[in-house]
């Protein structure tokens, strides 16, 4: 897939250099836009996983906190 993104021709010297570079960038952008789509859901999943690990690790601390502060946890 990445080959398709980079298929712009080598830039020629002189006036064509700029046009070639621009075409290359356009190809890069045009060919690679689909890569951005999965970014968002992946980030969200990572965040949830990290928070879950932290929360699980804190369970013992939370138990102690409740037991040591009974006035804050009426039943």
């Amino acid at each position: 897939m990445s080959q398709m993104c980079e298929q712009g021709r080598p830039a020629r010297p002189g006036g064509y250099a700029l046009g070639g570079a621009a075409a290359g960038i356009a190809l890069l952008l045009g060919g690679c836009i689909t890569v951005k789509a999965p970014d968002k859901p992946i980030e969200i999943n990572l965040n949830v996983k990290v928070q879950q690990e932290v929360v699980v690790r804190l369970q013992k601390d939370a138990q102690d906190l409740i037991q040591n502060n009974p006035e804050l946890f009426p039943q």
């Binding site: 949830v48 928070q51 879950q52 932290v54 929360v55 699980v56 804190l58 369970q59 601390d61 939370a62 138990q63 906190l65 409740i66 502060n69 006035e71 804050l72 946890f73 009426p74 039943q75």
Partner: protein, 136 residues
């Protein structure tokens, strides 16, 4: 030590215990948390998954003030622990919420998870949010 003097000592001890108990139970702290416990039994105050107490419907100004006071103290305790463990206050609060929902809420009391409505706990354990995972 004679039998009479030991009897006197025992009586004195009982009197001290009784007096202390009376003072403690009439103190403002006991009365206030009693108000919240009563509201929890009545289903107008309940634990939330976010680690704080919430109000379900309308309650007296006294109950509302005490719930707010408890939540402020909880937040202070969460903040201390979060600093010690290098995590966010919300993480500590959520972990505590897992514990209160798993083992503190009694059948008949109400609880709330996320933005959902208040639910009454039955005889079955409360279905915990996914992030609680292996809580207990």
């Amino acid at each position: 030590m004679t039998r009479k003097s030991s009897f006197l000592l025992a009586a004195l001890g009982l009197a001290v215990v009784g007096l202390t108990g009376a003072l403690l139970s009439s103190g403002p702290a006991m009365a206030q948390s009693g108000v919240v416990a009563s509201a929890m039994a009545a289903g107008t105050v309940g634990e939330q998954a976010d680690g704080y107490l919430g109000i379900n419907g309308s309650v007296s100004a006294e109950v509302r003030a005490e719930v707010e006071s408890i939540n402020i103290k909880r937040r202070a305790a969460y903040t201390d622990l979060a600093a010690k463990r290098g995590v966010t206050v919300a993480d500590v609060a959520a972990a505590t919420g897992c514990q209160t929902l798993a083992s503190r809420v009694k059948p008949g009391q109400v609880y709330r998870i996320g933005t959902g409505g208040w639910q009454t706990k039955g005889s079955a354990p409360i279905p915990l949010p996914g992030y609680c995972a292996t809580a207990n």
